[in-house]
């Protein structure tokens, strides 16, 4: 039982960690918290379905199309909307992503209404047993893809020149500019990276739970407590926060739900988050901000 819960928690947690990474990348660079993450994940999930099923593209062509649309979307959002709002107060930067959430939610409801859809079988199905715990190939591959993606992004941030430029942008905009980094281009890059993680997460979640707006965007928004717990500026924090939320949630579902009735898993991360905000406001790995008048 505990092994089973731990393994499920780990898999779900890795997906949350990947989603949290997408939010952290944007927040680090441009101090904008992307509330539209869940909606964009759902949108990309539907877009992938449209490429695979409606246009009947082969898998790799569809993947390429999805990548291109992620890049175009990131560029449009940054250049068309967010660049015009730089320097506006917190309410504006918060509300613009909430409005984007509405826009993407609206597009999905308009274009693909109705019940859940399903991907054709991209990943072989099947299950096997390890010491009494049931593991499916799907979740194993999901886990693998998430770990690979995480390693790839870690490598990008730690060891490439572009990644260094992005980290510099996250530190300080003015210092980055005086070192010849094009800060606004880094914002665009951050959005593109985030939307690529969105597409990955969208396909993985859609493969597990069906292509459906509410559950997919809801699952992706679990990244919110993950990011808050991990600390908003930290990639490691995203990983740890995501895994913690995944484990909290499965433990909540396994042990607390039978006591209080279903659905506690859905609020448990938020209660944990509020408790953490009160005692350790900047999360486990976030920067503590010191303000002066």
């Amino acid at each position: 039982m505990i092994l089973q819960l731990a393994i499920t928690g780990l898999m779900v947690g890795m997906v949350y960690a990947l989603m949290a990474l997408g939010i952290v990348v944007i927040y680090k660079c441009s101090s904008i918290f992307n509330f539209s993450h869940g909606a964009i994940v759902a949108f990309m999930c539907y877009l992938a379905w449209a490429f695979l099923v409606q246009l009947r593209l082969p898998f790799w062509t569809a993947a390429l199309f999805l990548l291109v649309s992620a890049i175009v979307l990131g560029w449009i959002i940054q250049v068309g909307i967010l660049r015009l709002l730089i320097g506006q107060p917190l309410l504006a930067s918060l509300m613009v992503t909430l409005a984007l959430m509405q826009v993407f939610g609206g597009i999905v409801t308009l274009v693909w209404p109705g019940p859940a859809r399903f991907y054709p079988e991209i990943i072989p199905t099947g299950i096997f047993n390890v010491a009494g715990a049931v593991i499916s190939y799907e979740s194993l591959i999901t886990l693998g893809v998430c770990v690979l993606a995480f390693l790839a992004f870690m490598y990008f941030f730690q060891s490439t020149k572009l990644g260094l430029a992005m980290r510099g942008t996250a530190e300080d905009h003015q210092l980055a500019r005086s070192n010849g980094i094009r800060v606004v281009q880094m914002f665009t890059l951050a959005w593109i990276i985030a939307i690529i993680t969105c597409s990955l997460g969208g396909v993985l979640i859609g493969n597990m739970h069906g292509v459906n707006y509410e559950p997919v965007s809801g699952l992706a928004m679990k990244a919110l407590p993950a990011v808050m717990i991990g600390g908003m500026e930290s990639v490691v924090g995203a990983l740890v926060g995501g895994l913690l939320i995944g484990i909290f949630e499965t433990i909540g579902a396994g042990f607390i739900d039978p006591l209080v009735g279903g659905g506690f898993a859905d609020v448990f991360p938020y209660i944990a988050m509020i408790a953490l905000i009160i005692f350790k406001p900047y999360g486990l790995f976030g920067y503590e901000k010191i303000e002066r008048v």
Binding site: F33, A92, L98, A99, G261, I274, P281, E291, R292
Partner: protein, 352 residues
């Protein structure tokens, strides 16, 4: 911004903050109130009155939110959750405890205020974005408690509420509710307008503008933040109790997460930090949603693949686009445009 064509010549603070500065303004205000409270309910059809009623309830909750978000600068993404608390409190008190609606309404409002205060406690340590996230979590937690409240809240099936009544006279038509809702809206708008012109109002504006500098002016920042939260949730509670009485049957579906975002949207469109602006924002977006409700099926006919999700999808989409447009082109909202229009009307035909 000039209040008179020749300039302002106020000699006291009271004159400066007066609602009506000239006799003409007083006459216009009086005419407006007579129209709103007497002529409109007598001549309008039930459909129009129902739109007014929903706008009235929304204005009450949005004004509360404006005091917290627009004046005190604390972003609240959980207003729908607080409204739900008010609605359920009112329904529980009238259905389970058999209290009169007139007692349940203020009690529900006060209890909602206290719930709001509870979620204001993190503001002792954090601010800005973190407060927004706390209120978002508050919405989730409140909704979970309501769905799992068993017989007390009726779970997902919802709860019936007793309509307001005076003896044998029961409020059961749109017109009856119009007098109740619009009457309370006018009263609470006036109360809010007065509130933000007092010491409390000036203090929360100071907290909004710079909460590091505010303590040096002798303002207890935490206390005023908590008070602002209380007032915001109190207004939400009144709106919720009115909703419970108006719909007679409430379920969690009346209080989606989406509504909390719409409430912030009202402030953006109307103008955050302006009581009158809130009214502009609510009226503008509510009328827009009426237009979308008519236009959605039309779009569905023109483009058949859109037909199934036309109204809800188009509503969300339009709302998002309107908010983005306002944020980019007029972040100060319709209220600011109204001021510009008024002052250019005063000095007309001169362009200065």
């Amino acid at each position: 911004m000039s209040k008179r064509p020749s300039g302002n010549f106020e000699t006291s603070y009271a004159q400066d903050i007066a609602i009506c500065h000239t006799g003409f303004q007083q006459v216009v205000m009086a005419l407006f109130l007579v129209c709103l409270l007497i002529i409109v309910p007598l001549v309008s059809s039930p459909y129009i009155l129902s739109v007014f009623n929903i706008i009235g309830i929304t204005i009450i909750a949005a004004i509360g939110l404006n005091i917290l978000t627009g004046y005190a600068g604390q972003i609240n993404l959980g207003q729908a959750g607080f409204i739900a608390v008010g609605a359920y409190m009112c329904a529980i008190m009238t259905t389970h405890l058999h209290l009169s609606f007139w007692l349940a309404l203020p009690l529900a409002a006060i209890i909602t205020g206290l719930v709001g205060t509870l979620f204001a406690l993190p503001s002792l340590r954090v601010k800005g974005f973190y407060i927004a996230v706390t209120t978002l979590a508050a919405h989730m937690i409140i909704m979970w408690l309501i769905t799992h409240g068993g017989n007390v809240t009726g779970g997902v099936e919802g709860l019936a509420a007793d309509p307001p009544r005076f003896g044998d006279f029961i409020f059961n038509t749109e017109q009856h509710y119009y007098f109740l809702i619009i009457g309370l809206t006018v009263l609470l708008t006036y109360a809010a307008k007065n509130l933000v012109r007092t010491r409390f109002g000036r203090a929360i504006i100071a907290v909004r503008d710079n909460d590091l500098a505010a303590p040096f002016l002798g303002i207890n920042v935490f206390r005023y933040k908590v008070m602002a939260f209380f007032i915001c949730a109190f207004y939400a509670g009144v709106a919720g109790a009115l909703m419970a009485g108006y719909y007679k049957m409430i379920t969690v579906e009346y209080f989606p997460m989406l509504d909390s975002i719409w409430y912030i949207g009202y402030l953006i469109v109307g103008g955050a930090g302006s009581i009158v602006g809130t009214i502009f924002g609510v009226v503008f977006l509510k009328l827009l949603s009426q237009i979308v409700m008519w236009g959605g099926p039309l779009l569905g006919e023109v483009v058949p693949i859109f037909s199934a999700g036309a109204v809800s999808g188009l509503m969300q989409f339009t709302f998002g686009v309107i908010i983005i447009i306002f944020l980019i082109f007029e972040p100060r909202g319709l209220w600011h445009r109204w001021q510009i229009a008024l002052s250019s009307m005063r000095i007309w035909p001169f362009p200065y």
